[in-house]
């Protein structure tokens, strides 16, 4: 009748993007006559923040305030081809396409401004506040709005850009498995603390201390969303969820959320997240994708923690009170190690 504490560790890396490459993304960026930009994508926002991160990337690259950028998805009539939102590819592939399109649009915008200011476009910078001015001489300036209007109605220029990002498709050696999976990887490591009740077999996840390396946290709020939500999902995989509780038999498969168990708001551990940034050479501003790797280390960390707590090795997920109790019984009692 004791609750035992235990800790478990796991470390992983994660490939960013569709395996073997060959997954292109395209973007179109254009300005209306007032210098307000639309980024047209067919990429899907399913909560990960695709629209938001590409908006920031476009604003940064164009050199305009974010309020002047709007990302429009996902319409096959207006959005150019994108492979889709999966494999942690969105930020990396689509972000790069948006940069390329934004660079092209920016170049035209600077040419338009240069013509109005009668300077060389190479001498111009943007201040990110809606102005274009000569480097080192902020008084010689023009608003992006005025530059756009001049381009549209006086000069006959389109402030627009196209972008595509594609990692060439890799082949796979049938005999050795040699391949180029992706070009960059994210990383994570974490320590999980659990308690295990040796009478009921119940496992509670109490605390997580994590470190995630994401290339660059393009928006810390979006990164935190993914990491916190993903760690929750990983915990759920480890000790709650299954569609086949008696796998490989299909009996008693859950058909509603009463039986498909997931941790609720009362089951949450504390979670302290540290983010490391080692920019990807080919990532947008060095960014990688945090969306999938956030869940993965939780699964083994929880089983390792259960072993640390009561000495029971659970090699078949999910961890259940039944498996814990059977293991304790087979060992002749709880055998806490508490070695980590």
């Amino acid at each position: 009748m004791t609750v035992h504490k235990g800790r478990g560790f796991a470390a992983i890396n994660y490939p960013i993007g569709m395996n073997l490459g060959g997954d292109p993304s395209q973007a179109l960026v254009h300005s209306n006559p007032d210098g307000k930009f639309t980024v047209a994508l067919s990429a899907i926002d399913l909560g990960q923040g695709m629209k938001s991160v590409t908006r920031q990337i476009a604003a940064e690259t164009l050199g305009v305030p974010i309020a002047d950028v709007y990302v429009d998805t996902a319409d096959s009539d207006t959005g150019p081809h994108d492979m889709g939102s999966f494999a942690s590819r969105g930020t990396h592939r689509m972000g790069n396409a948006v940069i390329q399109a934004s660079l092209e649009a920016r170049a035209v915008m600077l040419e338009a401004a240069a013509e109005e200011l009668e300077v060389d476009a190479g001498d111009l910078v943007t201040d990110g506040q809606g102005n274009i001015h000569v480097r080192g001489a902020p008084s010689r300036s023009i608003t992006t709005m005025a530059a756009a209007q001049a381009a549209q109605f006086k000069q006959g220029r389109t402030i627009a850009g196209r972008g595509i990002f594609l990692i060439p498709l890799s082949d796979v050696d049938p005999d050795t498995g040699e391949m180029s999976p992706v070009t960059t990887f994210a990383h994570a490591a974490l320590v999980v603390e659990v308690t295990v009740d040796d009478e009921t077999g119940e496992v509670e996840v109490v605390d997580i201390q994590s470190a995630y390396e994401v290339g660059r946290a393009l928006n810390p709020g979006l990164v935190e969303q993914q990491l916190r939500g993903g760690a929750w999902m990983g915990m759920s995989h480890a000790a709650w969820e299954t569609t086949e509780p008696y796998y490989p038999a299909r009996d008693h498969g859950p058909v509603d959320f009463n039986h498909y168990a997931m941790p609720g708001p009362g089951d949450l551990p504390t979670h302290h997240i540290s983010v490391l940034e080692r920019p990807a050479e080919d990532g947008p501003y060095g960014g990688k994708g945090p969306g999938e790797m956030c869940a993965n280390p939780m699964l083994p960390a929880v089983v390792n923690a259960v072993y640390d707590a009561v000495g029971v090795r659970i090699d078949e997920l999910p961890v259940t009170p039944e498996k814990v109790l059977r293991g304790i019984r087979a060992n002749g009692g709880a055998k806490p190690r508490q070695a980590l």
Binding site: F257, P265, L268
Partner: protein
């Protein structure tokens, strides 16, 4: 079989539409009244995405027969804002990144609003209890709890 006329108060306004026999309140609100804010998540009363209030109490609209809501005061997430002014909970959710895909959010906000209306200064445990019927697959719940706690104590009633 004949359709059933149902008149009720929807977010403060008297509305009427015809319900199919056996139609639940969720479908009546969405198809009959054009209020798309409550969502279909399960149709089994286990996820909370369809949460609305009826006479101030939270209910799972997928389990309520539309005709039984006749004459009642029904409120949804679409009615949280006062004109152009958002409810403080809506501001707090935005500030705390308490929504990702947004699908659970309308139901979650209705439950949170109902909590604060009856208990303006809840403890964390009381917040957890109030939202335990609203499943979220994206956020891991913590930002939602923080958003609600940040509003607690500030407002006494709707």
């Amino acid at each position: 079989m004949a359709k059933i006329p149902v008149t009720l108060t929807h977010n403060g306004t008297e509305r009427a539409a015809f319900a199919d026999p056996g139609q639940n309140l969720l479908e009546f609100l969405r198809r009959g009244l054009g209020d798309l804010s409550p969502k279909y998540g399960c149709g089994q009363g286990t996820c909370g995405a369809c949460t609305v209030t009826i006479d101030g109490e939270t209910h799972l609209s997928c389990l309520v027969l539309a005709e039984t809501a006749a004459g009642r005061d029904v409120r949804t997430a679409a009615g949280l804002a006062k004109g152009a002014t958002l409810d403080p909970l809506q501001d707090a959710f935005m500030e705390h990144f308490a929504a990702q895909c947004g699908y659970c959010t309308p139901g979650m906000l209705v439950s949170a609003r109902a909590l604060l209306d009856r208990n303006p200064n809840p403890s964390r445990e009381e917040v957890v209890e109030a939202i335990s019927g609203n499943l979220c697959r994206c956020t891991g719940y913590e930002p939602i709890i923080q958003a609600i706690l940040s509003v607690a104590g500030r407002r006494a009633s709707a």
